[in-house]
Symmetry: none
Subunit: 176 residues, 4 copies
DNA sequence: CATGAATGAGTTTTCATTCAT
DNA sequence: TATGAATGAAAACTCATTCAT
């Protein structure tokens, strides 16, 4: 799916790869879109599991934001298909049930990140009521970097240290 | 197209909106994908026109990077459909001609940006041979911010000054 | 089934309503069509049970025909689903086993009715070798009235006396 | 379609018989059900064209009712597929748009017939507010006779005179 | 005997694309 | 050059039926 795209991946191909009949797919998910939504759900749950611990260890504001950003970058670098999935799932028929689910799930993740970095952001002078935009910047940078990068064969081999520098740059810069 | 998605926008709808017959579409573009590619081409040409001037006025390294980032952010904020278009066009059948065109065009834009900020990056200690990643970070942050944001009704009304702060944060952070 | 139609009623719905597993259905009937055929069988058996007594009490020819018609009309009025079932079962794949069964069963019922009213019909001048058509007219009027009527919310509340008048009209008219 | 049933007749078969591509069907009708509804519309328009003239020539009440019934019987005898179509079209997904259309169209026809025979019916003592039931009896007898008959190879060769006798019987009987 | 997960044949419908006019 | 009717490949989804448990 990562290689050929969500839309281009047919249900028949999925079931064939799974070694089951075509109909079996629909005993597990009511539609292809629902399946994609469930994939995004899993993906964001995984991502959250990586992000949450960062908030536990006490550090200064700058390090916290940098760490959150770094976790996102590393996550999507290790799973380029996750970036592809997340970005393509937003192309699901706007107005459809699945799109709404994905958007809601993404919103939820943003809320999580915003909740974690809002205090740090405030300390750096970033308005609290705009913490969601701050979180969005962090998430979008990471997911966008590897989504666009995926199309250009860029990012997969970017050294961890450079990724970290990117993350820290954002945090340090904010912390003028 | 921005509202309902690339795939969901049918050729008939496009020609109806243009007030021409359905067949006329194919006298101008050989396929729908080619049309999308041409749209991306136009979009990146426009973007380049905004970006280029930034490199002409001599400033210090930090300001240059910040300005390039800021131009990207402003561009996509003013044209949310551009972010949607760019991100969705990457979902075009991988391996297809149109996908290749889009990727090549994006690559070209990255090259432009990389060329502009590479010296500044180097001055800040960012390895020159990794300048494309730096450019990618700048572009992806801007396009990703408004692509994800578009799905969450976020970003459209983010004050310019905050967007600028974001841009400058990245530059200032890098310039430790 | 009466409400949504034979075809629209899925096996899963039937078994769910019966509170048994889906597979259980097929331990009782070899196929859905066979089930429908058995339903028609039961239906016509019930109908025959109501019709037969009419032939026992000795009356004049006109009254006999009228009574047979009246029994049919009353039967289908009391069981609108029977009219729906009978008429829809004839839509079963022509040439299929189930269709043949239903047709044969209907034929049998017609034979019964024809046998009962043939003498009366003959007395009224209706050719004996055409008694099946006479029987068909009686049965079709009743089943058709409530089948078409069912789609138009007509017939369910038609007073018994009017239905009887209809039945007697046919008989009296024949008995010129 | 008459031979194998509405449901059993696939769109592919229709277009093949018409010598056009499969997709062409959907440039003329939005769905198979809509096509069936249009068929019923045509059918009832044809039928109405035959029925209407009967009301113009002045006759006595009994003859009028008999003639209306006779026209219906003859119509469906000459076109057995019409009886099949009408009866099967009522099996279209209840609640669907097509079903509603068919029902409305049938209702309209009933109204026509009711309007024609209501005065005669009243003269014979049939309550005016029940004229629709009277019309239903006339229509249902004819359509039902050939629908059930079609399944039993009965009716197609029933002599016209017998059909007329049936029609007159109903009228004469009512006119006690 | 009951069960329900698995199956895949079969159908409608969509829509980019063609091409005669 | 513009048009839109015709096309048919493709794809999601349904559901009666099977069968291992």
């Amino acid at each position: 799916m990562a290689a050929q795209g969500l839309e281009a991946t047919k249900v028949a191909q999925i079931t064939a790869a799974a070694g089951v009949g075509k109909g079996t797919f629909f005993t597990h998910w009511p539609s292809k879109d629902a399946f994609v939504a469930s994939l995004v759900d899993t993906l964001l749950t995984d991502l959250a599991r990586r992000v949450r611990p960062v908030g536990l260890a006490p550090t200064d504001a700058e390090a916290l934001v940098a760490d959150v950003a770094a976790v996102h970058l590393r996550f999507f670098q290790l799973r380029p298909e996750a970036a592809a999935l997340l970005n393509q799932s937003l192309s699901l028929a706007t107005g459809g049930e699945a799109h709404a689910l994905v958007a809601a799930r993404l919103e939820e993740h943003l809320e999580l990140v915003a909740g974690m970095i809002a205090p740090a952001g405030e300390q750096m002078g970033w308005p609290r009521e705009r913490s969601r935009e701050l979180a969005l910047a962090v998430v979008a940078t990471a997911s966008g970097f590897f989504w666009l990068g995926g199309a250009l064969d860029l990012g997969a081999d970017t050294p961890l240290e450079l990724l970290d520098r990117l993350a820290r740059a954002l945090a340090r810069g904010l912390n003028r």
